[in-house]
Symmetry: C2
Subunit: 189 residues, 2 copies
DNA sequence: TTCGTCATGTAAGAAGTTACATGATTTC
DNA sequence: GAAATCATGTAACTTCTTACATGACGAA
């Protein structure tokens, strides 16, 4: 087999974004579909989500393509299937990460949307909306900080990048709060 | 008609998020469907999108519900329909903005996703990914700054909140770049 | 006369979520 | 023995986008 990586036409070039997430999560150590879902919730949820209904078909697809190997690993009488990344699977991850392609960034934020239209409100109600947005960011920071120990543990095991994305998440909300507070001060005048 | 606002059961309580966007944009002065689409692209695109295929049905719905009044306003032989917000429409906006409800925030960022898994790469490739994410944020800041004059103009016409959300957008990307640079410095050691 | 913009409308399809369905195991 | 968690799988639905369809107007 002549160094069969996952280039286009190589047979594994038809992976969707959810496929790469599943593949990457198995690479990071999440062994079952259930565990992948939980790991996603703990680690990348704030910038990417994936539902359970996507995971199991994706695992099947990745196994058929030879990027994952699965085997039955029941816990007692409870069925379970665990997976490992194959060399081809690791090559596919690496190709995907190195691929030069647009990196779409989509934000869909009901808070900013309402804030944008807040001039339709009187001062008090607009201030209330601003407070709601700030408090939401504060809660988010709390949740992100709570998952910091897990990211620090990963740093010694695998590397520092999960911690980096977590720090970016925290910084995003800190920046939001800071701009809101600056706005409050200047509009008080 | 006894002070018909848009409370639940009041007949106009079934508006979707795109409906509120359309309603809000007409309130802000976008008069036709075409103009709404353009205004969305210029102003809220970075935290909310809406496609043309959603706008026209939404305008019809809002007119049927009495939140907008439309009238034909052809330009020459080119047909056009322009809209105005009714008092009931303004009440609906105001109710929506004041409504205490969760403010869902969804981020879907292929850049952060790849960065999260970047420990699967060697140092050089991981650094390249980091650079790509930083450059993307720099481009975004450029685009946001380009729409700052429009937001400043709106400030004197309508109010300061569009400028606030724009500043938040810029601050978000500045924070991303800053954290990336801090990470580069500490990982160089 | 061709291209970009103005202008509206819809059909088809992609993508993703919710909800349902099932059952074992552990914890309280 | 009840509730939470572990574990997998899928049907139905919602939501949104892409693409198509149509045509006028203005500028080069």
């Amino acid at each position: 087999m002549p160094s069969g990586t996952a280039g286009p036409g190589g047979g594994a070039g038809d992976l969707t974004a959810p496929d790469y997430v599943v593949l990457g999560m198995v690479w990071l150590g999440a062994r079952s579909g259930y565990e992948i879902k939980r790991t996603v919730e703990r680690s990348i949820r704030f910038f990417w989500t994936i539902s359970q209904a996507q995971i199991y078909p994706s695992l099947q697809h990745l196994e058929q393509t030879g990027l994952l190997v699965g085997r039955a690993d029941p816990q007692g009488r409870r069925p379970r299937r665990v997976y490992d990344v194959t060399p081809a699977g690791h090559a596919a991850i690496s190709d995907w990460l190195r691929r030069e392609e647009p990196l779409p960034l989509e934000l869909r934020d009901a808070g900013l949307l309402k804030l944008f239209f807040a001039d339709a409100l009187d001062r008090a109600d607009a201030a209330g909306l601003l407070t709601a947005v700030k408090e939401r960011s504060q809660r988010q920071i709390g949740m992100l900080r709570a998952s910091q120990p897990a990211a620090e543990a990963l740093r010694t095991e695998t590397g520092p990048h999960p911690l980096l994305t977590l720090r970016i998440g925290i910084a995003l909300h800190e920046a939001t709060i800071r701009v809101c507070e600056e706005f409050e001060e200047t509009s008080r005048l």
